[in-house]
Symmetry: C2
Subunit: 206 residues, 2 copies
């Protein structure tokens, strides 16, 4: 099966190169000519693999989002989760990457704009968000089972708050606002306080 193998190889080349270019030049400025030049493929070849520029970009987005979700799920599964550090660290580490434009969010952004033109893109991004919430919830439920988080906490609510705040932090970082009042530390403290309502106000043990 040499043909099938080659197909996959070319497809990966196409996707990887496009992602590279998007991160380098931004979505709007990445043209088919750029992609042709760097991959060495002809326009005909590209259209043999995807139905157009839009679909190509959606495929890149899809792959990247899946990758991101997987790494978040891994962070939740890691042992450090017992001390709440896993997911928190995942967020902390993603922020600098955002600032240097080396993250998914640029892709998300693109499809937020384009969602009227590209309805499928909206669904992909929404699914990504829901998946992230589900992972957060899993983290909380696990914590409750192991007794680290009191069972009185509403897991759904806490998971959404967690995701909402981390989403907000990412966005804020993306638009280049450097906060003085509310950063990862405060985020962490707030989540702790929310997850342990029996402890009053103060800073967490972490």
């Amino acid at each position: 099966m040499k043909q099938e193998e080659r197909r996959e190889q070319t497809m990966n080349l196409l996707l990887d190169t496009t992602e590279e270019l998007i991160l380098e030049k931004g979505c709007t400025k990445t043209t088919l000519s750029d992609i042709m030049a760097r991959t060495g493929l002809s326009k005909g070849a590209i259209f043999h693999y995807v139905s157009g520029k839009d679909e190509l970009f959606v495929k890149v987005l899809e792959a990247k989002l899946e990758e991101t979700n997987t790494s978040f799920m891994d962070a939740v599964d890691a042992p450090a989760v017992k001390e709440f550090d896993g997911p928190m660290n995942a967020i902390a580490q993603s922020l600098p990457k955002l600032e240097s434009r080396k993250d998914v969010s640029n892709l998300i952004m693109m499809y937020l704009i384009g969602k009227s033109d590209q309805p499928e893109a909206a669904g992909i991004v929404a699914d990504f968000y829901r998946q992230a919430v589900a992972t957060s919830k899993k983290w909380i439920v696990t914590g409750q089972e192991s007794g680290v988080i009191p069972s009185s906490v509403n897991a759904d609510q806490a998971a959404e708050l967690f995701e909402l705040l981390s989403f907000g932090l990412r966005m804020r970082s993306l638009i280049g606002v450097r906060s003085t009042g509310f950063g990862i530390q405060e985020f962490s403290e707030l989540i702790m306080r929310t997850l342990r309502p029996d402890r009053q106000g103060g800073a967490p043990t972490s």
Copy 2:
């Protein structure tokens, strides 16, 4: 000064029409031909007023953001602020508008993407965010002065939290996720709890 007057009139026509078209068709699908057709202006005329499509879009964004900030500041100044309802209502009302694409965020989105191509756009959005935080802070400080919010609250921190969460809510709404666990009500409760750390856990009075 008839010429100056005409200049302003044409400029407004250009800006208003462009905004209209962006809200109708989205950023990427709004072409210069569309704008020419609806304004009745020639291409030459448009380029006499702006240096290109990008600058035109930035100008629209700038005007819209300023408008939004002003209305938020008005909400903070309104009498209802004494019961915390002003800013909260402003957010609650903006969410449905977002879902029908009739809000600023589409414009913000565009420039989040394009910020590498269009450095000025990034600054505009960041300024918008900072202004919103400042307004939130003003709201909290006013509350502290009138005794509704205890002076022990860190106004900077609380303002950033407020803005971060409302930004996150807007984004979530924009990508089309309908939450069950954390909506305006929970947002409101959390802010209340944060602003009144001496009251434990429960729902607000509102």
